[in-house]
Symmetry: C2
Subunit: 321 residues, 2 copies
């Protein structure tokens, strides 16, 4: 057991660390002071992770530290912003030194991979809760928004969908997987990779973007509504792992359409830019798959490989349902 | 009962509201986009409020909304930063419409009083928890830090100390107060006024500052340690309300020295600047009281009006003790 100030000092203070020129003063004063590059816009996003809702009590604290930062970086990626710094507010049931140390390890490993630093925050007792705020920068007018999709654009998604949802179904006891497969999908759920490099590569290329946190159907719905457009998506063409593809068709649909926790980027780009989009994916080290075309007629239409309608009624993941 | 997206749309989205020129894009995309004034540094702070720890379940949600923003603005005040915008991440046990509406009312009333806007955030189910991040701006080199106190400086505090702690003692059942007095100290606990105007008025004048959230002894200790100095404080000269002053001396000491939740500014300024400091307090509409001198000898010495040592062993409020 350790006091609040000791926990901060021991695990979340890294003297002398400075993330880029942007950070003037980090943990330990009333505020962090940042100096973004001149003329840049700031991109800011906050996400809160609650035990039993965004992660299970069985998650290793190191992976939890990774995931808490990853889901926030994913929001920056969806805006095409370059990460600068983050704050962490943490409620812990106890002053648990071992837990805090492992959490900090996972958090800082991902922070180091993106060259960013923890600049401030808060530690308190309470039901386990992590709230992070990430701050990034983007040249004015270049942020990727949800509202920019236009009829004729190609609709793309990065990576593969549904592994995290499949892992959740195993935890729920509705699906059984062999040990190695379970480890793979569990890692997708517990240690998602934010697509920061892809978001940066899509600046000036994508017309809209969102990150997939609540499932494809729900998140795509936000883009369509904001942009005032519609689309037809071929469900069987959605990218998925061999593990998901080995499941019954209905479960596959649930995983790829309403998965949640995918943290892939869903984005649109002019149809003439297919090669540039593929090149951006290659530079970022992640597959990008075309999954449909944006149409003027509002609404989301799901079809199979024969163009026949696929019915799917599961709502977007909603934390109060 | 309402779903997550409905709650956000209904209570926390105010279309067309723009807080100053700084805010480009608010709630509803993956990130908020901000454009601070050219050449300014950003000041960022996050605070998390947990039920039973930072507020009691008996607090009116409107006051809770106020307090959650107030304690964050208090951190900006302590840095002399001008508030620009804030994010809110909110965990609610249920999708409680009435609670969320009242919380939003209290939050936005204070936001409007400071001309700032909610630019993003997150709503989820979970044990009641509010995590806010405030963003402000300050000209480079003008932020008030904890580390700037110098021997010979005068030590000052704004407002009055101890009302919030006295209210807590009433809730705990260790003290009884007449109804009107209880209402007064309860309001101090539940609706603190962040000293933003005073923080701005102290730019270029104060040599160090901190806001009092964990009690004078603990918070002053941070300033002394960071600045490598010490001080002698005359306990009986610490400003307090008539309600606190009517309590037994030992309880008074507990309230003014280890109160917590005061959200007043503790700051130092060169002794020759007494008149300028008083004028800054007048411009900001809050009393400022000199409570000691900074000394080269490290440590905090508490004395009575006769200069005799006052012993006081209660530790700074620590959330894990």
């Amino acid at each position: 057991m350790a006091g609040e100030f000791e926990l901060i000092a021991r695990h979340f203070t890294r003297p002398g660390r400075r993330a880029r020129a942007a950070v003037g003063l980090g943990v330990g004063d009333d505020c962090a002071l940042l100096s973004p590059a001149p003329g840049q816009q700031l991109a800011v996003s906050s996400d809160m992770l609650v035990e039993g809702r965004h992660f299970l009590s069985t998650v290793a604290p190191e992976r939890l530290g990774h995931k808490a930062l990853a889901v926030n970086l994913s929001d920056l990626a969806a805006c095409g912003a370059e990460p600068l710094a983050f704050t962490l507010a943490l409620a812990l049931p106890r002053g648990d030194d071992v837990f805090a140390a492992a959490l900090a390890r996972g958090l800082f490993a991902l922070a180091d991979a993106h060259g960013i630093e923890l600049v401030g925050g808060d530690t308190t007792a309470g039901p386990l809760n992590l709230c992070l705020t990430v701050i990034g920068q983007v040249p004015p007018g270049q942020a990727l928004l949800r509202s920019g999709a236009r009829a004729g654009d190609r609709l793309w998604v990065s990576g593969r969908l549904g592994d995290a949802r499949l892992a959740l179904e195993v935890f729920r006891g509705t699906v059984e997987l062999a040990g190695g497969d379970f480890d793979t999908v569990r890692r997708a759920m517990e240690q998602p990779e934010p697509r920061v490099a892809l978001g940066l590569a899509l600046r000036g290329l994508a017309t809209s973007a969102i990150d997939l946190s609540d499932g494809l159907v729900g998140d795509l719905g936000h883009v369509l509504a904001r942009s005032g457009v519609g689309t037809t998506v071929e469900v069987d063409a959605l990218p998925r792992s061999a593990i998901v593809a080995a499941q019954p068709r209905e479960l596959q649909h649930r995983c790829v359409l309403a998965g949640g926790d995918d943290y892939e980027l869903l984005f649109t780009a002019p149809a003439g830019q297919d090669e540039a989009v593929r090149a951006a994916g290659e530079r970022a080290g992640v597959a990008v798959t075309p999954i449909g075309r944006i149409e003027a007629a509002a609404g989301l239409r799901l079809v199979d490989a024969d163009g026949q309608p696929v019915s799917f009624n599961e709502r977007a993941f909603d934390h109060f349902i």
